[in-house]
Assembly symmetry: C2
Homo-oligomer: 142 residues x 2
DNA sequence: CGATTTACTTATCAAATGATAATTAAAGAG
DNA sequence: CTCTTTAATTATCATTTGATAAGTAAATCG
């Protein structure tokens, strides 16, 4: 059962990834944002412009709940909705300037934590790590 | 800024890991268990025996809330508490037989999903993947 | 055109989770 | 033996999140 030992490693690995990412982005959550709202902003940031339905699908939440949270984000001036001229039922959602600023700051903060963690890594190791990330992303986490 | 491109990869990678693990373990959640309760059981499963304080620390939840959830898990007969004879304030928490059974089934299910995903991977690739997992766990997600 | 479907909204309710204060019992310090 | 600290519990409340029913407006179908 070689496959089984690989699975063990997979489980241990994903557990570590969850733990480390949560640690790294622990105090990123701007007050005034719930965890869910932060995650939605994160998703918008990397996928914008995006529709409500897409958010609903990708984040596994119902349309009504998605609508509610997005309304709150809109009220907080963190994202903009633009009605799609080609299909006026759809709304293209993007980060507002304030939203971009907030997310930039958040990513900045995460980047610093990451840099600290990577601190004493040689160039050679850095390349190895990069190759390993590519490999796993391609063969396992696609 | 070579470090920056590595960071980009890191973010993309961790996002993928979260997405794939959530997909793989999507319908594992036994009804009658809340997500939090499932995560706690998962933690107990890999770290048992464990104290309440440890769960509280590692899962970033307050003692009262930890106590509440553990009480529920106890009522559901999924875990046992054994008072530490050396320090009778502490409780060693383990999975009950039923808890073990449930978690075995859950892991089994995840293992199958994983095997499907790994399906057409050669022995050589498998070894590369294993090395990549080891490397990243050691240098990044420690 | 009328009927149906799609994208989204509003309202409401229930459950899950987070936060705090107060309490108990055991252990450790002086 | 007191005093303090530690581990855990109980009770309570607020907030967050999930689920469902019903409604609106635009698009599409026939």
């Amino acid at each position: 059962m070689d496959n089984n030992s690989l699975f063990q490693k997979f489980v241990a690995f994903t557990t570590s990834v969850h733990q480390i990412t949560s640690e790294i982005s622990k105090d990123v959550k701007s007050e005034s944002l719930t965890p869910l709202q932060y995650k939605i902003l994160e998703y918008i940031a990397v996928s914008q412009p995006v529709t409500l339905s897409e958010i609903s699908d990708c984040m596994h939440m119902s349309m009504p709940n998605t609508s509610r949270e997005l309304k709150k984000l809109g009220e907080k001036q963190l994202c903009d909705k633009i009605t799609d001229p080609a299909d006026r039922r759809k709304q293209g959602i993007t980060l507002s300037a304030a939203g971009e600023a907030m997310m930039n700051e958040a990513f900045q903060h995460i980047a610093i934590q990451f840099a600290e963690r990577m601190g004493s890594v040689t160039d050679e190791e850095r390349k190895e790590i990069e190759r390993a990330l590519d490999l796993l992303q391609q063969k396992v986490f696609y």
